[in-house]
Symmetry: C2
Subunit: 331 residues, 2 copies
């Protein structure tokens, strides 16, 4: 944490009110660092930013095709969705297609981030179910592979064939043995790696082409699915969805809890990974905007970029109170 560098500043009334530091790496397809800030060797948990890595076995095993998953479902398997009707409907149908139900999920329940669905539940005096969990698409993907493998129901166990396959793919594409794992919010194991390892994995995704190895083809399909169905990856109003739309399907990006953000740039064959050490998403969103603008794939003046970096912050009466800026020397 010590080598983290200032990345994002929060200003109010002409004074610096708060500040965020972090690590970031831009990597090329050879696995080399193009540019870095902070410590590329810093060990982090990618959290949900590595969902496309966790989905590799689903596709490369042939399970996705055996069950006829659509590109939109592949996007959902990489999602931290907000539990809107769009997402819950898709996961419900997916589970039904597998002859499974909500009870087969292992992600737990939380209130959906989507306001319309949240309010609908409250008015119906209904409780959120596991399908509302932002990770339920990933877990539907896990269940698909579990069924394909005819493996046991506890698919989040570290020694389950699915998680062993995830770990093998994760370590190959990060180019590092994982130094440990934690249990994620959705109960799945989350494997640690360095910021460089995660950026290297994203660059490998960026360079992956159809017709390569099964793993490469899987990566190319997942990247395309995310960039083509940004609304499935997060939801209306959220950073991943709005920024991928702003970049016109040319770049896939993904946030993770505790302020991780990654980007896959197929045209440039570049990958990005960043971690804000304090875990604040407002800062990881601003920082990824800064790097995407620097690389020329996001317009600084686009409303989706401005919303996270540069537009005035306003209070409950709409009065301008301050602004988020990149720290001098970053991006």
């Amino acid at each position: 944490m010590n080598k983290a560098v200032p990345m994002v500043e929060v200003w109010r009334g002409g004074l610096l009110e708060s500040a965020h530091s972090g690590h970031a790496v831009i990597c090329d397809a050879s696995g080399s660092i193009v540019e870095a800030w902070g410590d590329p060797a810093a060990v982090i948990f990618p959290r949900s930013s590595c969902k496309m890595l966790q989905a590799l076995p689903l596709v490369e095993s042939g399970a996705a095709d055996a069950f006829g998953l659509s590109e939109s479902q592949l996007a959902l398997s990489c999602a931290s969705h907000q539990g809107a009707a769009l997402h819950t409907g898709a996961v419900s149908r997916w589970l039904a297609d597998l002859d499974l139900s909500e009870a087969d999920l292992r992600c737990g329940s939380h209130e959906p981030y989507d306001r319309t669905e949240r309010d609908r539940l409250i008015r119906a005096e209904a409780r959120p179910c596991q399908i509302h969990n932002n990770c339920s698409g990933k877990h539907a993907g896990f269940l698909t592979l579990t069924k394909h493998l005819r493996a046991g129901p506890d698919y989040v166990a570290l020694d389950h064939p699915l998680q062993r396959a995830v770990k093998a793919a994760f370590e190959e594409v990060t180019g590092e043995a994982s130094p440990g794992h934690g249990i994620d919010g959705c109960s799945a194991p989350n494997f640690a790696t360095s910021v460089l390892g995660l950026a290297r994995a994203m660059a490998w995704f960026a360079a992956a082409r159809d017709g390569g190895s099964a793993r490469e083809t899987a990566a190319a399909r997942l990247t395309r699915a995310m960039a083509t169905y940004p609304e499935m990856v997060a939801g209306e109003g959220r950073a991943c969805t709005e920024l991928m739309r702003a970049m016109g399907g040319r770049v896939a990006i993904k946030t993770g809890a505790e302020a991780v953000f990654v980007a896959i740039l197929p045209d440039q064959k570049l990958g990005i990974a960043l971690k804000i050490v304090d875990g604040a998403s407002r800062a990881s969103e601003a920082a990824i905007c800064g790097l995407l603008i620097r690389l020329g794939v996001l317009e600084a003046q686009h409303p989706a970029a401005q919303k996270r970096l540069g537009a005035p912050m306003r209070n409950w009466r709409g009065i301008e109170t301050g602004v988020l800026r990149l720290a001098p020397g970053f991006a």
Copy 2:
């Protein structure tokens, strides 16, 4: 920001996942530093942590007594409440007693943090009003003084007699000329000071006794009101309320946005102020627990302390995922 020191760590799976740095000062009644971490001279916005300073003119002017405010109302004037029925009812009655209405407030509206009231509004298809704003008690106090002064309705304007009185009191008890101001979430001016200035103000509150100057007597009354009515200062489940209860009314504490926390310890005549530079409340809550435990006024094993510092973090299925700890060398 550069001299901030590590204060709080977030661990997962045996690895350090996130970390928070900050500044903290413990001050005595002479205004001298008893102990400090980071940079005592760091300039911060106290945000809501200085509500008891903003309430000084209300009491010392005689307005509070002229309008017969209760001790519970004085606590509410220092509150960041969660908009539960307890709070909204009290503010509504207070406004009615002033022959004023919700429309006279200048704080703006936001959804109440209290789940019961939030769900009630949603079921009634009703929108939150300004009374739900966590600052509406402070604003009811502002309106009381405005009426007492026969001043104009725009009581959040920097040149309004009320805000001029707030600034004068603020600068006297912090012992510093304020280097600037910002506009707070509730639209009131928020005056900047150093972490030391804010700790000095809290120590002055801690030493203030009834029968001293009008300002000292006001401070003693406000401290007693906060410590006696902790449920009015925040609400069920929240840090200020639970921790003041855990300390049995001997200490008044207050959180502020962007991770400021202060404490007033009348028995020891000590004041505390701290700021986590990244603005994360989970860290300021853990850090103030650490300092209160260190000073012997909070039991480390008390559930209210453990909830913020030491108890396992659990995910949506109740599985232990990690823990918040103090950084080595802090508190």
